[in-house]
Amino acid sequence: MIKSSVNFASMMSGTLESLSGLGEDGSSIGSDSEINGLAVRRTDKYGFLGGTQYSEGSDKDIRVDVARQRELKWLDMFNNWDKWVSRRFQKVKLRCRKGIPSSLRAKAWQLLSNSKELLDSNPGKFEELEREQGDPKWLDIIEKDLHRQFPFHEMFAARGGHGQQDLYRVLKAYTVYRPEEGYCQAQAPVAAVLLMHMPAEHAFWCLVQICETYLPGYYSAGLEAIQLDGEIFFSLLRRVCPMAYRHLKKFKIDPILYMTEWFMCVFSRTLPWSCVLRVWDMFFCEGVKIVFRVGLVLLKQMLGSVDKLREVQGMYETMERLRNIPPESVREDLLVQEVVSLAVTEALIERECSIQVRKWRESRGELTHQPVRRLHGTRDIHEHKRRASAISSGGSFSFLGSIPPPGPLRASSSLKKMDKEKKRTWKQKTPRSGMRERKGEGLLYSAS
């Protein structure tokens, strides 16, 4: 008996040893990584076992005392969050641009996106959504996608492992929460990034904020919002980097051919991981503007000089370059620096948006989903929340993001009235079949 247990132990250690060298065959990773609950396989510091987003050890870590200082500053902000956002937002923004300390990132994202408040004001809601059966149409697709998100990340590598289970819980809960929206494949990587940082329930509310406040319409049927942003993006490129613009135009490369994944996944599948985190830090604080800017910086980088263009003379060559951005060409600090200094403001994006909406209507008719005004990051969300609570004198309304959902979480009556009035002005002229209007959507319709 004793002997056999010794044998077992030595066998186990043998197994672990043989696992510790990352297999030559990358495809076997993931099938069994959960047996190494002891993290025997070497991951990079972000949990990647391999793949294109694996970080070689060359990343320079910031000094310990600097890191500690930053943590203290953030902890101080957490303690007086509302005040910081309303009175010293520039400082908050600056600190997000410097990068949020990894130990505090999860909490910071939830405060920046206001998902913390959704979580707190809806106790038990997530469990309730989980208990619902869900639409098999969506559950089927979600199940098929579980093992196809960051297969090289330790959390999602194992089939049926806890990462994939949580992913299922979050994505399913969303389809129950918004049955009219259902599931869109690009939501999975977004949810997965959140799950790398926080528990499922927190990730769920954060996902809600991304889908409804930061990037409304991105994951909705018809994908009109993403197509519109493609047009806006292309037109901004004309200002920012005419050379890249002319090149893409010359080879008739539609924005949707390269920016769909960038925008819908907020670059989580495109950039080296250290960059992904920095981009998400800024994105949560400043909103979609950051997504546009990162995309523009990448195009500048890939197609911004005669030399670079010489290598990609052709539609396919260009597409290939844009779909496989060499990680060494994107340096974290340089990327952030360029993103920060790019003169693409919220106002510019909004102005371009109205132009593109008008063009869309002229050339393609009415939009199926009316464009919803997105909130440009933390301050905008905060401001909106303040206004909403001022209107809601009843006090029963708690800010719920962009779209007060049907059912028990509905907006107060005064808001609904406002809602109705706005809706009238936005009434669709030619609604397509199968269209459903969501209650409360009018709240955020752009007034311009």
Partner: protein
């Protein structure tokens, strides 16, 4: 990158079919001889190229792969533009993916060139014990609709090469028999007799200018 390769024709081929049937793995098997159990979901468009020899001709196949989820169909018109061939893929173990074939076919003919060469592909023959779509059913359907037909396994590399070769061969046959005239299919570059052919007017190859 292949931009300076010599070739006689460029054929654009699209992969379509429901999510999870193995489109991306068919693509990677054909262009890179790779298979990935946990390949990432395709969001938007992916594509890859491979140059093959067909008799005395060199053909560059540009194969486009797209997300199968219904939602993405809204953005696929750019994807069909210029396609001269299509592999319409279903999973032989998932009958639902076969049932949607007709819908995909309609989608294809709505957006692509009417002369497009289409092959119906039943993938995942390695999972034969779980088969739910009989070969004969699919074969009959393909015949009735004038489609080529093959069953493949991207995992075991069965028939993948043949599937693409047959589609490319059929495209070439159509083009050279003048069933399709130049211009009706924009991505086809009918070469001059000089082997190192430039592309069509829309897509100038760099070989003559920037090397």
């Amino acid at each position: 990158m292949g931009s300076d390769e010599a070739y006689n024709f460029v054929f654009k081929v699209v992969l379509i079919g429901e999510s999870g049937v193995g489109k991306s793995n068919l693509l990677s098997r054909f262009t890179k001889n790779e298979f990935n159990h946990d390949s990432r979901t395709t969001i938007g468009v992916e594509f890859s190229t491979r140059t093959i020899q067909l008799k005395s001709l060199i053909i560059k196949a540009q194969i486009w792969d797209t997300a199968g989820l219904e939602r993405y169909r809204a953005i696929t018109s750019a994807y069909y533009r210029g396609a001269v061939g299509a592999l319409l893929v279903y999973d032989i173990t998932k009958h639902l993916t076969y049932e949607s074939v007709e819908r995909w076919l309609k989608e294809l003919y709505d957006h692509a060139d009417p002369h497009i060469v289409v092959m119906l592909v039943g993938n995942k023959t390695d999972l034969g014990s779980e088969r739910s779509v009989p070969t004969e059913d699919a074969k009959d359907f393909a015949e009735k609709n004038g489609l080529l037909f093959l069953e493949t396994s991207a995992l075991e590399s069965t028939n993948v090469e043949t599937a693409f070769q047959n589609v490319l061969g059929e495209i070439h046959r159509k083009v050279s028999s003048k069933e399709v005239t130049r211009g009706s299919i924009s991505a086809v570059s009918l070469s001059s007799p000089v082997p190192r052919a430039a592309g069509d007017p829309e897509e100038k190859k760099p070989c003559c200018r920037n090397l």
